[in-house]
């Protein structure tokens, strides 16, 4: 006895209903084009997803290397700060030594360049680099010579005569004051 299965599976039913050979010739090309369109979208999705996955892996690797390098960078930055600080200290120390030499040289030159019959009574300075030189002389022209010689010590300074006043019983001794300002 032959038994018939009338309950066909869906794909058999679909094939049975629409066999490929039965498709109209005019429908084949459109269906192929639509299929290709879907296929290209699927290919694009696959390609892009794969590319994004690779990029994410690459980014993850870079971030891991950055975390490792960050410690070295922090250490280098601390070292740079430290070195800058030590350089500042060294500069300040060098400047201090240089300033003392300049000051003592200036005083020595003022003393050495005294014209005849002229002597110093006071030398004062301010932190701004201004000097006041007080002295005595027996001749007014020697005070002029003194002024010129003090100016010759530093051409950039502004040297000026502040005062000349006769002193002593006979008025033969002249007290003078010379001002010396550093030009800005």
């Amino acid at each position: 006895m032959i038994r018939f299965n009338y309950l066909q599976p869906p794909h058999e039913r679909w094939c049975a209903g629409v066999p490929a050979a039965a498709l109209a010739g005019s429908l084949r090309l459109p269906l192929v084009l639509i299929g290709l369109a879907f296929l290209s979208i699927a290919a694009t999705w696959t390609f892009e997803t794969h590319r994004i996955g690779m990029l994410e892996d690459q980014l993850s690797g870079l971030q891991s290397r950055i975390r490792t390098a960050a410690n070295d960078e922090r250490r280098a930055r601390n070292l740079m700060t430290n070195v800058a600080r030590l350089r500042t200290i060294r500069s300040a120390v060098s400047a201090a030594h240089r300033d003392v030499l300049v000051a003592t040289n200036t005083i020595a030159r003022i003393g050495n360049d005294l014209p005849p019959a002229t002597w110093l009574t006071s030398v004062g300075s301010t932190s701004a680099g201004a000097w006041t030189i007080g002295g005595r002389s027996t001749r007014v022209e020697e005070i002029g010579t003194m002024l010129r010689r003090v100016q010759a010590i530093d051409q950039h300074a502004s040297v000026r005569l502040v005062s000349i006043a006769a002193t002593g019983r006979s008025g033969r001794i002249l007290d003078f004051v010379i001002g010396w300002d550093q030009q800005p």
């Binding site: 459109p30 070295d72 060294r90 300040a92």
Partner: protein, 196 residues
């Protein structure tokens, strides 16, 4: 009603392509673009970090050289040690150059303003007023010797004036100096860069 199959299918293909571009290609391409930008930024960061790390040996050498150089100048001494060194130097110079120490007076350390206290300078200045008495040449030599001593100080001449001459003695000067002892200010703790 008849359907124009070629036109309908072309329309369907265009719609599918547009939908694919809008909902698949464009969002994924945007994500990829963002990732490229992040990767570029990460590479820049990494290059910078690597370049900085490559400077570590040079910086270590320079720091070591500077520290050695400053150690000879005793800038790292504590305040009391620095003052002790100054006093010993002054005494030595006085004996060596034949000048008398008339006075040593501690000055007042200027208080830092709140703004300056936030970033304190790396150098602390400890002020003193020093008065020496002696002949002109000896005074000059004494100041130069003080400058050459192993401590570090900024010495400025405040005044030179004739001192009262002793009977039969050579002309003497009273020389007043303002001395700023220079020492390294307390190093902030975060500057400790010794490798652990």
């Amino acid at each position: 009603m008849s359907v124009d199959v070629p036109r309908a299918s072309a329309f369907a293909v265009v719609v599918i392509a547009l939908a694919g571009y809008t909902f698949v290609f464009r969002p994924l391409e945007t994500s990829a673009g963002d990732l490229y930008a992040q990767i570029d930024a990460a590479r820049t960061d990494l290059d910078r970090s690597t370049a900085m790390a490559q400077r570590i040996p040079t910086l270590e050498r320079e720091r070591s050289a500077l520290a050695t150089e400053l150690a000879h100048l005793h800038t790292g001494d504590r305040r009391a040690t620095a003052v002790d060194r100054l006093l010993r130097t002054v005494a030595g110079v006085s004996a060596h150059d034949g000048v008398a120490v008339e006075a040593v007076t501690a000055g007042v350390t200027p208080q830092l303003t709140p703004a300056a206290a936030a970033t304190p300078p790396p150098i602390e200045e400890v002020p003193f007023d020093l008065t020496l008495r002696g002949p002109y040449g000896d005074i000059i030599r004494a100041v130069r010797d003080l400058n050459d001593a192993d401590g570090t100080a900024r010495i400025t001449v405040t005044s030179l004036s004739n001192a009262e001459r002793r009977p039969g003695g050579s002309p003497q000067l009273n020389a007043a100096f303002h001395v700023l002892l220079l020492r390294e200010a307390q190093e902030p703790p975060h500057h400790d860069v010794r490798p652990r």
